[in-house]
Amino acid sequence: MEFKELDPILHSQLRLAVVSLLISVREAEFTFLKEKTNATAGNLSVQINKLKDAGYIEVTKQFSNNYPQTICKITKNGIEAFEAYVNALQSYMNPGTN
C-alpha cells in the first residue's frame, strides 16, 4: 500500500482554507478571504505570499475608488496542486481504493 505525500504548502490550515475558497470562485478580494477564514490581516498576508511564491495563486494589487484592493486568483498550478492534495487525502482516508 502506497500513500501519496501531502503537499506541505497546502497542508496548513490557513493556506488550505484560502485555496479551498479560491477554487470555488473566479477571484476574490483580500477582505473576502479575511472574513471567511477569520484570520488576522498579517497572518493572511504572509500565507497568501507563500501561496503566491509557490505559484498556486496570482495576486493583483490595484486601486478602486481610491482604495487599495488586493485580488487573489487561483492558478492552473494551484488547481492541479489542490486536486493532487485531495487525491492524496483520499488515499489516506480510504487506503486500497487508489
Partner: protein, 200 residues
C-alpha cells in the same frame, strides 16, 4: 484560524468542505431593477395605448422617454464602481446573459424601426423578456419570475396573433406587470426582510 496548526486528514477535509460551502454563490436580487424597468415599460405601453385611443399624432412619446432612460441606465451600469468582494463563475455567466439580453433588445429595436412593423415586432420584446426572467428566476430561485417568463411567452404569441397594435400595448403592459413588477416587488420585500433579519 490563527496559528499554522498541524493538520489531521479529517481536519483538512473539514476545512475544504467548510470553505467550499462558504464560497458557494449566494445570488441575491433586491428586485429594484425589475421594479424600475417594469414600471418604465408598463407606463410606456399604457401611454401608447391611450395615445392611439386618443388619435394622437405622435404615439411613441412613452417609448422615446424610455429609450433615453435606457441609454442613461446602461451608461451608468457600464461606469459604476464594482463593489463585489468576490467574483464567482455564476456572476460571469449572468453577466453574459445580461449582455446577450441587451444586444437582443437593441436588435429588436432596430428591426422595429427598419425591418418589421411595430405590430409584428413588439412581440419579440416579450419573447426575450421571458428568456431573461426564466434564467434570472432560476438563479435567484424566484417562482414569480419563472411564472412571469411563461406569461411573457404567452403574451408574445398573443401579440403575434393580434393584428391591432393598440391591444398589443395592453398585452405588453399586462405581461410586464406580471413578469417584472410583481416579481420585483416580491423580491424587494424578501430582500428587505432578509436585511432586517426577519428571514434567512
Amino acid at each position: 484560524m490563527e496559528k499554522d496548526q498541524k493538520l489531521s486528514n479529517e481536519k483538512s477535509l473539514e476545512i475544504i468542505q467548510q470553505m467550499i460551502s462558504q464560497a458557494k454563490a449566494n445570488i441575491s436580487d433586491n428586485g429594484l431593477g425589475w421594479l424600475l424597468w417594469g414600471s418604465m415599460i408598463f407606463l410606456a405601453s399604457l401611454s401608447t395605448y391611450f395615445l392611439i385611443h386618443a388619435d394622437a399624432a405622435e404615439i411613441y412619446w412613452g417609448w422615446n422617454i424610455f429609450g433615453i432612460f435606457t441609454i442613461i441606465m446602461l451608461t451608468y451600469e457600464l461606469f459604476k464602481p464594482k463593489k463585489k468582494a468576490v467574483r464567482t463563475y455564476v456572476d460571469d455567466l449572468l453577466r453574459l446573459v445580461d449582455i446577450a439580453f441587451t444586444i437582443s433588445l437593441f436588435t429588436v429595436i432596430f428591426a422595429i424601426n427598419f425591418a418589421v412593423t411595430p405590430n409584428g415586432g413588439f412581440g419579440f420584446f416579450l419573447m426575450i423578456f421571458g428568456f431573461l426572467m426564466l434564467i434570472k428566476g432560476g438563479a435567484v430561485k424566484s417562482k414569480s419570475l419563472m411564472i412571469g417568463a411563461g406569461v411573457n411567452w404567452a403574451g408574445a404569441i398573443a401579440m403575434f396573433v393580434n393584428k391591432d397594435f393598440k391591444y398589443d400595448m395592453l398585452i405588453m403592459a399586462a405581461a410586464v406587470l406580471i413578469g417584472y413588477i410583481i416579481p420585483g416587488f416580491l423580491l424587494w420585500r424578501k430582500y428587505s426582510r432578509q436585511k432586517a433579519g426577519q428571514i434567512k
